[in-house]
């Protein structure tokens, strides 16, 4: 029986649709033309301008600081949450599971808005700490889901086998469960990292003076059209970074 070509062609079309804007953006980052409507010759100029844009690198520092600390915290919380959700069946886990999944479908604006309400009402000054809290909150659910998927594939007779061979319960967890779970935890952490670096909406609501993350910086650059091609250059670098992290995460999840 011959398979229809239609789904394959549609898939190609969708992938082209997904990538075309990004490709144009990358090409235009080397285009001397200001608006990128036509090719005005190759240039490194926008990258040089980007290199000199101190405020961008400052924002990158802020973003990395938050992304690293938020993904570490959410890895810890998310792994514990996944273990609890996988290991027990009780009303508590019913509530727990609902709480973990709701942030996944909550629109960003509501999450940002409600966290802002919390900080305003409690009188907490918005800044690095509040951004970090917000990022841990939305990363937590994603990490939990990734680790949970890993746990569902985990063969728990391996722990029985370890006990049978003389390992205590703690040793079995340390020597068998943790090493086998680690790639999943790292993949969850990488996802959290990219989500944190990427987030604009929630960060926008809970940021304060002096805490301009990279997406906030990009947004303000987008409003001042003077620096548009510089955004192309910055975007190209960010896309490359995303690609690397995604590929790394895929490798981690495929192993074992």
């Amino acid at each position: 029986m011959k398979r229809s070509r239609v789904p394959a062609l549609l898939t190609l079309g969708v992938i082209a649709f997904l990538f075309a804007p990004l490709v144009v953006l990358v090409v235009n980052s080397f285009n001397a033309s200001r608006f990128g409507g036509e090719w005005d010759g190759f240039t490194w100029g926008w990258y040089e301008k980007l290199w000199e844009a101190d405020e961008v690198w400052e924002s990158l520092g802020v973003t990395l600081k938050i992304a690293l600390s938020a993904s570490l915290a959410s890895m810890l919380l998310g792994t514990l949450a996944a273990c609890a959700l996988h290991g027990f069946r009780s009303w508590l886990q019913g509530v727990h599971s609902m709480l973990v999944t709701l942030p996944l479908v909550m629109p960003d604006i509501l999450m940002g808005m409600s966290l802002l309400a919390l900080f305003v009402v409690t009188g907490v000054e918005t800044g690095l700490a509040t951004i970090w809290i917000a990022h841990v909150t939305f990363c937590l659910s994603f990490v939990t889901m990734v680790v949970l998927g890993r746990l569902q594939d985990f063969d728990f007779t391996l722990l029985d086998a370890a006990r049978d061979l003389g390992a205590t319960r703690a040793q079995a967890v340390r020597k068998i469960l943790l090493p086998l779970l680690l790639p999943g935890v790292l993949a969850g952490g990488l996802l959290a990292f990219t989500l944190s670096v990427d987030d604009y909406v929630i960060t926008f609501f809970v940021s304060g003076p002096g805490t301009t993350t990279l997406p906030l910086r990009v947004a303000s650059m987008m409003r001042t059209s003077r620096s548009l091609p510089v955004i192309n250059a910055l975007s190209t670098l960010l896309i490359a970074g995303t690609f690397l992290i995604a590929a790394l995460s895929f490798r981690l999840q495929r192993r074992a």
Binding site: V14, F35, L99, M113, L118
Partner: protein, 286 residues
């Protein structure tokens, strides 16, 4: 062995995430609802006392066009995304494991690459001096002074673009579990490829369709950044109004009233789906 673990152990590993989400997710959401009934103070904060004023302003008929626009943009985005994602998920689930991984990576990378960058990419494509405008004009498909930017079409296009991976990923997860022999069986029984797809594959992945619909629709309802950057003044959605109330008007209670309304609009379809699934399960068990 599982039964031998103590309840204290369960609490010990559940508490960190439960407490975190309680303090930073449940309480803030409740706070938004509470704040909607509070008067505003002059410094952008929340004053003491209670009022129904914020809720009453929601009954202003001026909100209707915005509400309507929010709904139809979200609905249109959902329909187009799911329609495009179905054949993609179908194709991804059919190819060999290596190609499948690669395709998955291709779908995930735009999904993970910065949201603002994706909007910016479209903004420069649709710009009057941008590639797309130039190409369309040179092909005489658009008038010389065509404005692709700052209209509802641009908003819809970019919303579809950003939400598409949200539709593909759950549908792919469902399609991966689909037994493709069923399609061969349908073909064997005389169905054409299109009928087999519609009558066997689509019902087979209905759970995936459901989560894709909820995912895309709910995320679209709260959208405000896309109208802000590629839409015009008359393309604003509910989210834009919330954002303006918070940052331009500095009226948190007003914003909270809007956010509470949005929250209701988000929770409603999810509750319906949850109820439907529970009811469906019971029916299936009987």
């Amino acid at each position: 062995m599982r039964g031998a673990r103590h309840r204290s152990g369960e609490w010990l590993i559940t508490l960190p995430s439960l407490a975190w989400l309680g303090v930073f997710f449940v309480i803030p959401a409740a706070l938004v609802v509470v704040t909607a009934f509070r008067p505003a103070d002059l410094h952008g904060g929340v004053a003491a006392g209670w009022t129904l004023e914020n809720i009453e302003t929601l009954r202003d008929p001026a909100w209707l066009p915005i509400l309507w626009r929010t709904l139809w943009l979200s609905a249109a985005t959902t329909v187009v995304c799911v329609a495009l994602a179905l054949p993609v998920a179908f194709q991804m689930a059919r190819v060999g494991p290596r190609l499948r991984q690669f395709l998955l990576l291709l779908v995930v990378v735009p999904f993970l690459s910065n949201f603002l960058i994706r909007i910016f990419a479209w903004k420069s494509l649709l710009h009057p001096e941008g590639v797309l405008t130039k190409v369309l004009v040179s092909l005489h498909l658009a008038p010389e002074d065509a404005l692709l930017l700052n209209n509802a079409g641009a908003v819809l296009l970019v919303m579809i673009y950003t939400q598409l991976p949200f539709a593909i990923l759950p549908l792919y997860a469902a399609a991966e579990k689909f037994d493709f022999h069923l399609l061969d069986a349908a073909r064997d029984l005389g169905a054409g490829p299109c009928r087999a797809f519609m009558k066997v594959f689509v019902p087979g992945v209905r759970r995936g369709i459901l989560s894709a619909v909820v995912m895309v629709f709910v995320c679209s309802l709260g959208q405000y950044v896309i109208p802000q950057f590629v839409g015009g003044a008359s393309d604003e959605m509910l989210g834009n109004k919330i954002q303006q109330r918070v940052f331009a008007d500095r009226n948190l209670p007003q914003a909270s009233a809007l956010a509470a309304a949005l929250m209701a609009a988000v929770l409603l379809p999810m509750l319906v789906v949850a109820a439907w699934q529970r009811f469906g399960r019971k029916e299936g068990a009987a």
